[in-house]
Amino acid sequence: MFDSLIGAVAQNLSPGLLLLVLLGVTGGMVMGAMPGLSATVGLALLLPITFTLDAVSGLVLLGACYMGAIYGGSFTSILVNAPGTPSSIATAFDGYPMTRQGRSEEAIIAVTIASVVGGVIGVAGLILFAPILANFVLNFGPQEYFWLGIFGLAMIASLAAKSLVKGFIGGLIGLLIAAIGIAPVGGEVRFDFGFTFLQGGIPLVVALIGFFTIPAIIDMISDPSARRAQMMDEGSGPRPSILIPTARRVLSRPMNLIKSAIIGTVVGALPGAGGNIANLIAYNESRRTSENPEEYGKGEIDGVVAPESANNAVVGGGLIPLLTLGIPGAPPDAIIYSVLLLQGLRPGAELFTDQGSLTFTFMVSIAFAAVMMVPVGLVAGRALQRSVVNTPTRYLAPAVILLTIVGAYAVRNNVADVLLMVTLGLIGFGLRYLGIPPATIVLGIVLGVIVEEGLVQGLLASSDLAMPWTSFFTRPISLVIITMIILGTVWPIWANYRQRRQQGEQQ
């Protein structure tokens, strides 16, 4: 394996492949930064181009684009509260508050470093632990997916530590929105209120833009002077470089980076889970173990580092079941799978032996793509950041509306989805006023599908038992996840209680 790795590194250093990596990362970054145009769309657009390339070049281009798209999703998440991809939902929790405090450049630098570290660790996990992780994920049944979804929902305790009841109500509203449309078992249509376009459910991207971006647009339009005051520090004149201090600050807490990357790799290896869930779990874990959990949600830099490290690690992790078992973990992996098949390559052990050179070159190229994000991100990302910060609100607000319309419309080519997005945005704004955090609603929408599918499939699979629901409490991996859920829920409440008690004693 070591010889194959050396050969793969040498091959990746060739100018042709380096150029493809650069093009892939840049193109992916642009696609990822557009709300609604996910990594899947970017890879699908590149698919015809790969037909004209040899197998190695085609796969390298797709891998680089995938990595760049996941990274690019963080930009709009930070700058305008519009996660470019669902993998960057948690990045907005602290990224947008950082922008409002005039610290968007710091956030962009932090996510660049986090994405590189996460991407490289994900590839390391892919190269070193692919067979072990592949066997581990095969033990995940519907019950484990159900508990994994509940584990993600436990994050509500972190997101709404000040008003747990309202936080849980937000999560329940999200789960209810996820239940709109066709039921996963039986195929019955639920809660369509007589509207045909609701029969297919509410697309995640539409809800994401609606709940996060529309309220931000309403804030801009209703009080444009507030944004100008917030941006004043960052937009006015030359400032000392914050690149080195920020890099030092992020790297001074390596455990946050590494732990999040490991979460991303493992969750990425679970088919159907992917970056959408990994970034949320990593954020929650980062907050739980932080010395300053009360700063999360208010512009804590570790709060943008954790989800970005995790979601870029997902790229490598997602390739584990794909390359070893032929199971694509996420839609972008399915496109890579199709290219493998088109080139006559079959996933499995033979891919690592008979086609070892090609496979290792592809895997190493993803690490190269991660490293390439440093120059691309620091140049293009900071240029985007500066242009957004310096754009007057009277132009930024309509420009963001233009892009959100594209994102919502592109999902199903239906103007009704744009209407749906605006409606959800207005509802989200109202609920935010009532104290229900929009982040908890989005969390429910993201996790609703995995929770319900796990629940009904688990019940169906255990229908031979007298009490099918007991199967959710008797499987070893389920028990481990249940323990983590209890810890994840109780910890923020305990920390909050302890903090209040200390404050009481001091007074």
Binding site: F168, I173, A183, I221, R432
Partner: protein, 160 residues
């Protein structure tokens, strides 16, 4: 007490929140038309939990309004300017309606211009209007061409 945390003078925000959630749960409950029990486990559980939490909020808002007010969330805006909110809602609604009838390009140019002019401070003059019209045409036209001709993402077609 923060005036934004109260609606009217006697009803706490907590109670209003609970009532809204309870109403939403009731509306969804009335829409249950599924016959397969497996299709109902999940949404029924959610609706019951929502109703229970809503009742909890209402009771808490009535019994201990002061502690409920203190339980505010950091993300809630300190104050909502109703005029600004109405302006934003109307602009967004008109843009979506225009999108339906005029397509992305024409509605985009018109509404981009309207929004930018409405957010301008001070009095409007011909020069400002011309500048915003030119910027609207360039930005919307550029975005339209990039999506439709470069990355082949279809956008709402116009009437022509």
């Amino acid at each position: 007490m923060n005036p934004a945390r109260r609606i009217g003078s006697k009803v706490s925000l907590e109670t209003v929140c609970g009532a809204v959630v309870l109403l939403a749960a009731a509306v969804f409950w009335s829409q249950r038309g599924y016959t397969n029990p497996l299709a109902g486990y999940f949404p029924n559980t959610i609706l019951l939990a929502m109703a229970a939490m809503a009742v909890l909020l209402i009771v808490r808002g009535i019994v201990r309004p002061s502690s409920a007010e203190d339980d505010s969330d950091a993300e809630a805006p300190a104050e909502v300017r109703l005029g600004g909110l109405a302006k934003a809602a109307v602009l967004l609604a008109v843009w979506v309606l225009a999108l339906w009838f005029l397509g992305y390009l024409i509605s985009g140019i018109v509404m981009f211009c309207v929004v930018s002019l409405s957010l301008r401070e001070g009095s409007l003059n011909l020069r400002n209007v011309l500048v915003d019209v030119v910027i609207s045409v360039v930005v919307v036209g550029g975005v339209y061409l990039a999506f439709t001709n470069l990355i082949f993402v279809p956008l709402p077609p116009g009437p022509f």
